[in-house]
């Protein structure tokens, strides 16, 4: 447990360092891209949906998988769509 808290704290510092210097024109893709990463909860959802938990447990698990997948797939695709539009001057 302590080890997990330790990891949590270090990740927070790493996150602050990574994002602090991002130019403002990339803020929207950064937000939707990091939003897609928050769909990592899909790992928990997959385990929940695949474990024998009776009808209620399975239903909740499948719903979790659906919503997490929407977050992951939609988030990455829409970020890519945006970034594909960012172009420099063509000479």
């Amino acid at each position: 447990m302590i080890l997990l808290i330790f990891i949590f704290i270090l990740s927070a510092f790493l996150g602050f360092e990574l994002i602090a210097k991002v130019p403002s024109q990339l803020h929207t893709p950064l937000m939707s891209g990091s939003n897609a990463i928050s769909g990592i909860t899909i790992v928990g959802a997959l385990i929940a949906a695949g474990t024998e938990g009776g009808p209620v447990g399975t239903t909740l698990g499948v719903l979790a998988v659906i919503f997490a997948t929407v977050n992951v797939v939609g988030g990455y695709l829409v970020t890519d769509r945006m970034l594909a539009m960012f172009k420099g001057k063509k000479k």
Binding site: V22, Q25, G33, A36, A48, G50, I66, G74, K87
Partner: protein, 455 residues
């Protein structure tokens, strides 16, 4: 096999970190997003290798979720990007809530070390869901976007929060027999999400979206503590931290503290105690505007959300090209909160093939503003309002703005004299060097383009 899974999770975490790092630079951003997506794929495949999983329901969920996500991502208009991100955020929050719920459902005899994160995943996930859905509704103007205030609002919110904490403590003390309390906590979290977003005005939604983005990450991290999975903790925490930084940047760009944004009900009243606006706004025709632009050597374009609503970004670029062909130097000045989420305006202009070298940030353009012959304000209002600089009584006093009033001539393209998203009067319209070009922004720009082409 478990060792392989663990190593895969480490690989996924590394790819997330690398991806985020590359996402921070224009040239590598797209690659960064791809790398982070590969990390996600590795994490998903590794999880499917966990022994004893039944696949049939997993596949159903993955197929349905992928279809919804892919269609939504393809169909969304760039102007509606804030709404889309809000909904994706809400989906992530709900997923974390459900993970917390199902883990409890399957193993109600939780230790304290699992009960606390279960409580947190449900609380944060629930607030993220309803807060995001309400933010979506406000942005899409499906509900009133002005702040909704009612008597004793702060006391009710504080009371609700204390109630959540109280039930949280009861739940964590005896998780085994507390199923009804868990369900009650879910409902309370939903209510809390609605009540915290409802007093926040539409103009402050960039801050809210950034903050909810942070919450969705923290909810995922909480879910990671429940199932003791490090990749969830690392990835969730990275997102949590990035959301908080973006929130701070947005607040700074509006010269407001986060508590002011969240609790002040900004823009709820339209009565300004500031200096009364005097003078008369002077209108101009496209023909006369053309003669001024034709002689201009330095032109700065200041787009706001109104430009996006009018879908005028393409014709704006056409005008910029003509101005350049005419020998003028053209820049686009972008305010940090232009649009309805951080960096939104840049995406909209990129969609119209505006090269990103021409986009200049507020702090870079302001010192050169006095050398600009013409500033054209297209559907922007509050971000060019000199009251922020001059009128200590104005609600936006102190907010950094683009000082277009220092340019030689200012053209304001505007439908009418109505006030902006924040509902504040704008003395810029009454300045001696300001000319109003009334009408739909797209039609006005089109008229200017026609003038250029026909000469």
């Amino acid at each position: 096999m478990p060792a392989l899974i663990d190593w895969s999770y480490i690989a996924a975490a590394i790819l997330f970190i690398l991806g985020l790092k590359l996402l921070g630079k224009q040239a590598t951003a797209r690659k960064g997003n791809l790398i982070s997506a590969v990390g996600m794929l590795i994490a998903i495949v590794a999880t499917l290798l966990v022994s004893g999983l039944h696949y049939q329901w997993i596949i159903v969920g993955l197929v349905i979720g992928s279809a919804i996500g892919a269609v939504a991502a393809q169909r969304v208009q760039m102007t509606a990007m804030p709404e889309m991100v809000a909904l994706f955020n809400g989906a992530g929050g709900l997923a974390s809530l459900l993970v917390g719920w199902v883990e409890y459902h399957n193993h109600p005899n939780q230790l304290l070390s699992a009960a606390i994160p279960t409580f947190l995943a449900i609380l944060i996930g629930g607030v993220t869901l309803t807060g995001s859905v309400l933010a979506y509704a406000k942005l899409a103007e499906k509900v009133q976007s002005r702040p909704v205030l009612f008597p004793y609002q702060k006391m009710i919110n504080a009371g609700l929060f204390l109630l959540v904490l109280l039930f949280g403590v009861i739940f964590c003390a005896h998780p085994a027999g507390s199923y009804p309390i868990l369900l009650l906590l879910i409902l309370l979290a939903f209510a809390l999400g609605v009540l915290t977003v409802i007093p926040i005005g539409g103009a402050d939604m960039p801050v809210v979206i950034a903050l909810l983005n942070s919450y969705s990450g923290l909810a995922a991290a909480a879910a990671g503590f429940i199932i003791q999975n490090t990749v969830l903790i690392v990835a969730g925490c990275l997102v949590g931290a990035s959301g908080i930084i973006l929130t701070q940047i947005m607040c700074k760009a509006m010269n407001r503290s986060i508590t002011n944004v969240l609790f002040a009900g900004f823009g709820a009243s339209t009565s300004s105690a500031g200096v009364a606006v005097t003078g008369e706004a002077k209108a101009i025709t496209p023909e006369s505007a053309y003669f001024v632009l034709e002689a201009a050597a330095q032109v700065v374009l200041v787009p706001g959300y109104g430009m996006a609503v009018a879908q005028a970004q393409h014709v704006l670029r056409e005008l910029a090209d003509l101005l350049e062909a005419n020998g003028a130097e053209v820049r686009y000045a972008i305010h940090p909160v232009a649009g309805r989420m951080p960096g939104h305006m840049n995406v909209l202009l990129a969609e119209a093939d505006v090269p990103y070298e021409q986009l200049v940030e507020m702090d870079a353009i302001n010192p050169t503003m006095a050398t600009m012959d013409v500033a054209i304000v297209i559907g922007a209002n509050d971000v060019v309002n000199p009251a922020a600089r001059e009128d200590p009584g104005s609600p936006i006093y102190g907010m950094p703005i683009i000082n277009v009033d220092e340019a030689g001539t200012v053209f304001v393209l505007k439908r009418s004299m109505a006030s902006g998203f924040a509902g504040i009067e704008n003395p810029l319209f009454f300045k001696a060097n300001t000319r109003m070009l009334f009408g739909d922004a797209k039609a006005s720009l089109q008229a200017l383009v026609t003038e250029f082409k026909s000469s």
